[in-house]
Each structure stands twice: as C-alpha cells, then as structure tokens.
C-alpha cells in the first residue's frame, strides 16, 4: 500500500464505508427488481467493523470472511466492477459467476474466501497464519465471523490451534445482534463472545463496532501482537445489522424493538462523517467523495450489465485444476444459448 498521511487515511476509511453502503444500496434495489439472482445478505450498519479491521491490515495480509460478504472485500480495498459482476452472475465476476453474493472473495486482495458455512473460516485463517509462519513471512490472517458462528466448533478449533501454536491470526467476531433472526442473547451463552478468549489464554477485546477508529485501533494492536509472534487475539465488535438476514425475502424475519432506532441513530458512517467535520474536514470534500463513489457504483453496474454470462462449459471448470469432461447427454441438452 502506498503511504498515506493521517488525513488521507481517515478519508480512505470514510471512502471505503461509503463504497460499501452505496454498493449495497444499489445491489438491494436491483435485487428487488429481479436483476440479481439468489439471496442477498447485506452488511449495512456494520461498515465500521469491516473497514476499521481491514485498515489495520497490509495489502498482503490474509483475510477470511463470511456469507455477508460484500463489505469485507471492499473494506480490504477491492474494486467494485468484479464484485458487481459477480452479483449478476457474470463471467467477469470476481468468482467468475460461481460464488455470487455470499462468496465475494477477491484473492488479489488477500482474501482466502468468504464462506457461507458460518464459522468454517476459522481453521482456514489459522492455516493461512501457519503458512505465513512456515514461509518466514510476517503476514497475518484475519478471520471475520458472526455471533452466530461463535457457537460453531470450527471457530473454536481454529482459535485453539492458533493459540497453541502462537500463530499470527486475528479473530474478529462481528456481533450484529442476530444469527439469522435469533437474538444473540438467546443463542450465545455468556455476556460477550470476547470473554471466551480467556479459555484459550489469548486477549479478548470488546470494541464499539460503530466507531471505525476504535475498531482500527483494537485490530492494529492485535496485528502488532500477531506479527511479533505473540499469537492470536479475539476481538468482538459490537455492531448492528439493519436489514433482515437476507433482503427482499418478503418476510419480516426480525422483530425489532426500540433498540432498532437507537442503533440506526448511531449509524457508523454518519458518526464518522460528523467526527471528520468537527475535526475540520470540509463538507464539500466529503460530498465529493460521496459523488465519486456514486459514479464508481454506476460504472460497476454498467460493467456488470455489459459483461457476458459464463459459458456452460465453465460449470465444469475449477472442480479440479484440470477441467472436468462434460457428459455427452448433459452437453446435448444444456441451454448453451443462455
């Protein structure tokens, strides 16, 4: 990453949060219109968590994410065109139309998968951290997971392995208060996911997930610790998901109480904007960022719409390194014109 000054870094955080929000707002709209197939799990309300965490990483550090996968790659620095194309199932998509909304994973930005089996990224992150250690590189691997995934064994196996081998891993639990529609309080024993760190003899840190600076600071400390060979940290970002588990499903999956308004009132992007303005950043500069990102999103959508769908043969690519043979009866009846 090119060196950026303090002010630029702050604007970059704002830029990335705006990019996530606007990208998803557009995605939600065209999903409602039927242009995006499948389910769409949005990250709105959680932008400070992803951006704060990723801003503490280097470009060559690794990251494993979740099925709520739009925010993480953008937070890590991905460009929007391949992400939007993926949502539309196009061949130019970041996963060539094989992953879709739940798996927007950009390996060029150090992502090692946005996995939709919740918690399954834990062992992968531990393994990537092990790989970096064995290769003598000072890279770290950060694993995002949700409060729902905090009850999955895979996360605990990954944390235990990272702790016992002192691997350069950081486990970031994005506690958005719901696992699908089940409140965290009725699914996760104990007051805080971060408390579970004590069981592994590693630091457990709770941070305000609506404050991008606070998240960045907490993760940076964990990254420094990891690079110094002192092992993993568990960080819990207390945040909030605005939408239902998946949007446009036509059902109100999450009965929300008055807390909904309280959380929306602490919108991470609005909070940060106010902080920047009070610190002397010109409103016009922030508006310019917002407009530039609107253009980026529009450009990404045009690119996605103009892109071709994958050819049918590509369904047989990437099972293995070599393409699978296509069964004759399937090929004969496949809709190759699609």
């Amino acid at each position: 990453m090119t060196a950026i000054g303090d002010n630029d870094r702050r604007l970059e955080k704002y830029r990335r949060m705006q990019r996530i929000r606007q990208f998803e707002t557009k995605a939600e709209t065209i999903h409602a219109a039927g242009e995006i197939p499948g389910a769409l799990h949005t990250y709105a309300g959680m932008e400070a968590s992803g951006v704060g965490a990723c801003m503490a990483l280097r470009d060559d550090d690794y990251m494993v994410g979740t099925h709520r996968s739009h925010g993480h790659p953008i937070a890590k620095g991905s460009t929007l065109r391949p992400l939007m194309a993926e949502l539309l199932g196009k061949a130019t998509g970041v996963c060539k139309g094989k992953g879709g909304s739940m798996h927007l994973s950009d390996f060029s930005m150090g992502s090692l998968g946005e996995t939709s089996i919740v918690g399954s990224g834990g062992p992968v992150a531990a393994g990537a951290a092990l790989g970096a250690k064995l290769q003598g590189l000072d890279r770290v691997a950060l694993c995002f997971f949700g409060d729902g995934a905090s009850s999955e064994g895979a996360i605990h196996e990954g944390m235990n392995l990272a702790a016992v081998w002192k691997l350069p891993a950081i486990f970031v639990c994005e506690n958005n208060r719901f696992g699908m529609s089940t409140p965290t309080s009725s699914a996760v024993a104990g007051a805080n996911v971060a408390d579970r760190a004590h069981g592994y003899g590693i630091p457990g840190v709770i941070v305000d997930g609506q404050d991008v600076d606070a998240v960045e600071d907490a993760v940076r400390e964990a990254v420094d610790r990891a690079r110094a060979g002192k092992g993993p940290t568990l960080i819990e970002t207390k945040t909030y998901r605005y939408s239902d588990h998946a949007v446009n499903m036509g059902r109100d999956l999450t009965p929300r109480g008055p807390e909904h308004e309280e959380w929306v009132g602490r919108d991470p992007i609005a909070l940060y904007r106010a902080r920047l303005v009070s610190d002397g950043v010109a409103e016009a500069d922030l508006a310019a960022i917002e407009n530039a990102i609107a253009d980026e999103v529009a450009d990404a959508l045009s690119f996605a719409r103009e892109s071709a769908y994958p050819t049918f043969e590509e369904a047989f690519d990437h099972v293995f390194v070599e393409r699978l043979p296509i069964p004759a009866d399937v090929a004969a009846h496949a809709n190759l014109g699609a």
């Binding site: 998968g113 089996i117 992968v124 895979a154 392995l161 016992v164 293995f320």
Partner: protein, 330 residues
C-alpha cells in the same frame, strides 16, 4: 529396487517429498510418536516446524491444512483413522472440496489427507470404517486407495505433488504386504490410472484397496478350476479409470466388483453401474457386487470377519457367473 512393506512405502514417500520440496510439511495427531510408524524420526530429520503434532481437533487441523495450502504450502495431514474424518466433514466438504470452484479458480489447494482404514481387527464400528464412497460423492476431492507397496509409494508421491486436494485411504489389511518398489526418488504412479494385477479371460474382477489381495487369492483358486480371472485395481477412485475397466469387461463379458466398503452407494456400485451403462452389449451375465453388507462392524471377531468380501464369496460368485452352478439372485 527393494522389497518393502506398505507402511514402509508410506514412510519413504513422505520422507522423499519432504526432502524434495520445502513447501511440504506434515501435521496430525501424535505423528511425532506415530503408532503406525509412518513418520518415525521425522521430527529429528525435518524439525518441529515441519512435523507438527496437532490438538485432537480434526476439523481444525484439516481445515488449517486447507488454509496453509491456499497460501502456497503443501500439507500432508495424517488423520490417523478414516473414522476420524467425520468430525472434519465441514472443512473437507465445504472448504477443501469447494473453495477452488466457488471462488472461480482463485484458490488452489494442494494438500493430502491421509487416513487408515483400520478394519477387520475387532475395533468395533467407530474404528473400522471404509468411508471412501462418501467422499467419491463430493466433487473436488481426488481419492486414492492403493493395494500394494509400490502403488502406495508412487501414488502418495503423486498426491503430494498434485495441485488438487487428494484423500489417501490406506487399507490396514495391506500394511505388512511387501512388494518390489523402485528406489528412484521420482518414481510416481499417475493418479487416475488403474492397473491390471492379473490377466485373465473369463471374468473381470474389479477390486478396491484390500479387496485386491482377496481377489487375487480367489483368482488363483479359480484358475485351478479352469476359470481365468482378470483382476483390475483402479488404484484411484476419483478420477476413476473407467476405460481400463470397460476394456477388460468387453474382453471377458463378466464382471465382479469387490469392495470392502458398505454396499449401498459403494465404489462397487458406481463401477457396476458404469459397466451396465457402457458395456451392456458385452455382458454375458449380471454384474455382481461383493461388498460389506449395510451393517456396522461388530466387535466380536466371530461375527465381524464374515462380513467382509472373502475368497469364498468371490469364488462362489465366479462359479455362478460362468455357469458352473445355477445363477441365483442375491
């Protein structure tokens, strides 16, 4: 060439590949001590960083092998017993098998998952599984199941050098069998190529893993009765060398599939279906499966041993297929 055991072949394959490629490393439960002897002295030879004893945490360390592979390492995971793969189904199926596909080819997962099929020795149902058919049903996993020391060494070396995830099922009934094995450090057996273990003209017996040795004994006995048996060992179950199998069945017109796995959806079932679909015109008799029935394995040897494919069951089926006795549907 030296005459070595199946276990020694595993040891040699790993040692040679660890020596050859610094990206290769090993991890698993208790491999420093290693009850089976396939990693003896490895810590002293390759160091603690590359030879790692893991927590008892199969989903964790098998998944970690996936993560390490994604960043350029070539892990060999020793999962000890095949039954221990079940706790790791999440990582094997959702991460290791699918990551390359779901991320559009961005991920590469060169790793080997070794496990022993430890059956036939009174260890009861939870220690006696032969679960390769379950993994055959999951795209994205190459599967090897060799039956002799030479194939074991050559296939394991090929697996370690392969850029795809490979599951290596090591049949415990083959452990002490010896074979002449090339010393050449670049001796590999290609993944996906079967082998004719014995040539014959009357019946093709396609046998899997330890079933091959049972089939060879049966073939010898049948030869004395004037029945000529060709024994095919696919060696690799994914990808399966269908052409070799079909060519043999087209020659003999009869097929028996011998598979130590449970019957339903076994490797034998897949092979039998392939033969019926692709070589029906060449068949002179029904295709027969000799498998382990769909029950769990009991502790008592008195009732365990008769469940597996045996020389007697193969001989009996062969006699029926050539018309030496009236065919009766199982």
């Amino acid at each position: 060439m030296a005459r070595i055991t199946f276990l020694e072949a595993i040891y040699q394959a790993q040692a040679e590949e660890l020596e050859r490629d610094p990206a290769v490393f090993m991890m698993g439960e208790d491999i420093r001590c290693n009850v089976f002897g396939t990693t003896t002295g490895f810590v002293e030879r390759f160091g603690e960083e590359r030879i790692r004893d893991t927590p008892i945490s199969e989903n964790g360390f098998i998944g970690a092998a996936g993560g390490a592979a994604m960043v350029g390492m070539r892990p060999i995971v020793d999962a000890t017993l095949s039954s221990f793969l079940y706790p790791a189904m999440d990582q094997i199926c959702s991460i290791i098998a699918k990551s390359r596909y779901i991320y559009g080819g961005q991920a590469r997962l060169p790793l080997v998952i070794r496990s022993c099929m430890f059956y036939g020795n009174s260890n009861a149902a939870q220690h006696s599984d032969r679960p390769y058919p379950m993994f055959m049903n999951m795209p994205g996993l190459k599967i090897i199941a060799p039956s002799d020391a030479a194939d074991m060494k050559g296939l394991l070396k090929a697996a370690i050098r392969d850029d795809d995830p490979v599951m290596c099922f090591e049949d415990g009934t083959c452990w002490m069998n010896k074979a002449e094995v090339p010393d050449d450090p670049d001796f590999v057996v290609p993944i996906g190529k079967g082998d004719i273990k014995r040539e014959g003209t009357d019946i093709t017996v396609i046998a899997i893993a330890g079933g091959v040795n049972v089939a060879l004994k049966a073939a010898k006995q049948l030869q004395g009765e004037g029945i000529s048996v060709e024994v095919i060992d696919p060696r690799t179950l994914v990808p399966l060398d269908r052409e070799l199998i079909l060519k043999s069945v087209r020659k003999t017109g009869r097929a028996i599939c011998v598979d130590p796995a449970n019957r339903t959806c076994s490797a034998a079932s897949e092979i039998a279906a392939t033969i019926v679909e692709e070589a029906f015109d060449a068949l002179r008799s029904p295709v027969v499966r000799i498998t382990t029935p769909d029950t769990h394995l009991p502790f008592s040897p008195h009732i365990e041993k008769p469940l597996y494919p045996s020389v007697e069951r193969i001989v009996d089926a062969a006699r029926r297929l050539v018309g030496a006795v009236q065919y009766q549907s199982a």
